[in-house]
């Protein structure tokens, strides 16, 4: 990446990027802003309850959901999580960090055939299963992997 583009993107910041995505019709504004805030799902403390309240219950395990996350987090405050759904007709994707005080991290809705690809950073206090669930064609799918959070030191 050239330095000019780097500087531009840094200045534009995250809000700008989201605005562009909304303008392009890739994200429904309701998925981003408070209007559709699913309070019950986002405030649930139990992972099963969060999954249920967000509408992802009864999901089938699927290897078509590809989660990219570090095996051990470099910094628990900003753990990069990327996920892609290869399931046709994906309309939404949600990330759950099961050991977090509020397990539902984000719920993304896709419209107009937007590519079901999400990339974000989550805060994790301790080692946990990171679960990505998908709604597609009226069915639910899910996949998960463990991300380890350690106090560090003592290596090598």
């Amino acid at each position: 990446m050239n330095q000019l583009r780097r500087a531009f993107l840094k200045n534009a910041g995250a809000v700008g990027t989201v605005a562009v995505a909304i303008a392009a019709g890739l994200l429904k504004p309701g998925a981003v802003f408070a209007a559709a805030w699913n309070s019950l799902a986002f405030t649930a403390k139990d992972p099963a309850e969060a999954i249920k309240n967000a509408g992802y219950s009864g999901a089938a395990e699927s290897s078509d959901i590809v989660i990219k996350a570090p095996d051990i987090a470099e910094n628990g405050a900003v753990v990069p999580i990327t996920a892609t759904s290869n399931i046709p007709g994906t309309t939404s994707m949600a990330i759950f960090v099961e050991k977090n005080p509020a397990p539902l991290i984000a719920d993304f809705a896709f419209s107009n055939g937007a590519e079901p690809y999400i990339s974000t950073r989550v805060k994790m206090a301790k080692t946990s299963i990171v679960r990505v669930s998908v709604k597609a064609g009226g069915k639910n799918y899910t996949s998960s992997r463990e991300v380890k959070v350690t106090i560090g030191g003592c290596g090598g």
Binding site: K10, D71, E74, N75, T150
Partner: protein, 571 residues
């Protein structure tokens, strides 16, 4: 009086040693050692490999571990085999030079018989000899080169940068190098190394946009054959070492990106693809099973001197995995026979570097002398004499670590102490003087502060569980490659059949069970968080040694292990 087999072998070894001591310098050619370094040339592409020398410019003693436990899929497999079982697994005769190089067996006698190992001047002569029979051979340095000695610390790695260049290093990757700070590493790579040494790392990217920080690989032509060397830096540098040293870089294993890089190198015509890795051997073995198209992974980090490559099957065929020990003790030589655009055969030998078999290289000797001159007098200070062997390697403790713990607890007035499970650090024989240089060999890091912290019993247990999991997690990708934190003052059991949170039990301090809610004074060093102040560890240890003058053999605080029956990783 009967003599058992081991004693007989020792006698033979001593006899052999006295026989060639007078003309040992001629050992580079066929002679009384049976031509120890005569390695017939093979094939048309050769790679020489050094790793984890930890800035040891001069020959040293280094005791291999008698505890290196493997569990689950690693159980009783290299590198988790020690002592006589290792000799048996690799067909090495007991009581020989090789047996001494690869194991801890009869360490004191064997070390006295065969002398010191490593040393850059000796390594240099050996590399020149091997290169002479292998035109175009590349020298690969797996990293942990700019850290581990006083001179490396005080010159910010410059002594090792210059020594590496003089040694003829062609390609390098890193780990402890990064603890000199991102800027310093970039400065060396962009200036000292420019046009001379390729620093490669496919798994280091910027935090913000995921841009490459170093070139991921380099293609070199050896006898007109394109050979790709891909770099894999230590994936957990920002976790095992201070994050603030490389605040803008992200590491990780990234085997999906590794596959892309392998494919790219192959597409560009590489007929041999080798990964120069600082993953640690268990991680390399797993990576070799998941990524295809790699001919060999030449690894380091875990300091495993493994005599023969481990063959790993994968979707694309197979990959050889090697590990070349530490402290300049070994030189790995890998010869490829490339036919019809691909590797047809591979031969590998891990040569132990015995200083008294090799005439030191004059130019390197001068460089080392010049580097050391300003510090020589200070480093030579004799602080105390040790009555026992001092060493570090081992999963749970080493005698030099125990000495550090004892010093920390006494000097700081602590109930207990923690010392990091580093795997570098040289060894001393009974009767040797402990110099300041020896202390620096165990402690020379850029974050040497000592601390005294009040911790609850619960916190102490949590820390021990956390570090223990970094060593024994069932998934190699979740291991960090160091050893268990050394613990002073607290006895415990370690149940290796369990998972995190359940391994550390029966913690006792002064004959009393550790109270989860009570606070204890715990001394430590090498804090990974920024802004911690405290007297450097070498001052604490040196002060303690000057005061004691004579160091009696240490009593190791070792946990009682559960679940290690029939484990070849413990002797």
């Amino acid at each position: 009086m009967s003599m058992n087999r081991r004693e007989f072998m020792q006698m033979l070894a001593v006899a052999a040693a006295s026989g060639f001591a007078l003309n040992s310098r001629s050992a580079l050619s066929a002679d009384s050692t049976g031509g120890f370094y005569d390695l017939p040339a093979f094939g048309n592409v050769s790679l020489l490999h050094i790793t984890d020398c930890h800035a040891q410019l001069l020959p040293i003693y280094f005791r291999e571990p008698n505890v290196n436990i493997g569990l689950g899929q690693s159980l009783n497999k290299a590198p988790h085999i020690v002592g006589e079982k290792l000799l048996k697994a690799f067909g090495i005769r007991p009581g020989t030079r090789e047996a001494h190089a690869f194991t801890y067996l009869d360490f004191e006698n064997a070390a006295r018989t065969y002398g010191k190992v490593g040393g850059f001047a000796h390594l240099s002569t050996l590399i020149k000899k091997i290169r002479a029979s292998r035109p175009g051979a590349l020298l690969l340095d797996g990293g942990d080169t700019w850290q581990g000695s006083a001179t490396a610390l005080w010159t910010k790695g410059q002594d090792m940068v210059d020594a590496g260049k003089l040694l003829g290093v062609d390609v390098m990757t890193g780990h402890w190098e990064f603890t000199l700070g991102a800027e310093r590493v970039k400065q060396v790579v962009d200036n000292d190394f420019k046009g001379k040494v390729d620093f490669v790392a496919q798994n280091i990217k910027t935090n913000d946009f995921g841009d490459r920080v170093f070139q991921p690989y380099v293609i070199k032509h050896i006898n007109d054959i394109p050979v790709a060397i891909i770099g894999q830096a230590f994936p957990y540098t920002p976790i095992a070492n201070p994050r603030y040293m490389t605040p803008d870089w992200s590491f990780g294993i990234q085997d999906d990106n590794m596959q892309l890089v392998v494919n790219e190198a192959r597409a560009k015509g590489a007929q041999v693809v080798v990964v120069l890795s600082h993953n640690g051997m268990d991680v390399d073995l797993k990576m070799a099973s998941r990524v295809s198209g790699i001919d060999a992974i030449m690894g380091g980090h875990t300091h495993d001197g493994i005599p023969a490559p481990i063959i790993v099957k994968n979707a694309g065929g197979q990959t050889l995995v090697t590990n070349a020990g530490s402290n300049g003790k070994f030189l790995g030589v890998m010869d490829f026979e490339v036919k019809g655009g691909k590797v047809a055969d591979i031969k590998y030998k891990l040569l132990p570097v015995f200083a008294n078999l090799i005439e030191p290289d004059a130019e390197m000797t001068t460089l080392i002398k010049n580097v050391r001159a300003p510090y020589e007098a200070k480093l030579a200070e004799k602080l105390a004499v040790t009555e026992g062997t001092l060493y570090r390697r081992g999963n749970f403790n080493g005698t030099f670590d125990q000495l550090i713990l004892d010093a920390l607890m006494e000097v700081k007035g602590a109930d207990a102490a923690f010392s990091p499970g580093f795997r570098w650090g040289t060894s001393l024989l009974p009767g040797e003087a402990i110099t300041l240089e020896h202390v620096m060999d165990q402690t020379a890091i850029t974050y040497p502060q000592t601390t005294l912290t009040e911790m609850t019993g619960e916190t102490i247990k949590a820390i021990m569980e956390d570090v223990c999991d970094n060593l024994f997690n069932a998934d190699p990708y979740k291991q960090q490659g160091g050893d268990m934190v050394r613990v002073g003052g607290i006895s415990y059991t370690c149940d290796l059949r369990q998972s995190i949170g359940k391994r550390i039990n029966n913690m006792m301090l002064n004959g009393k069970a550790l109270d989860p809610n009570k606070k204890y004074k715990v001394a430590g060093w090498a804090p990974v968080s920024e802004g911690v102040t405290g007297e450097p560890i070498w001052d604490v240890v040196a002060g303690y040694l000057r005061d004691k003058k004579v160091i009696a053999p240490r009593k190791l605080n070792l946990p009682k292990l559960i679940g290690v029956e029939d484990n070849a990783g413990i002797a």
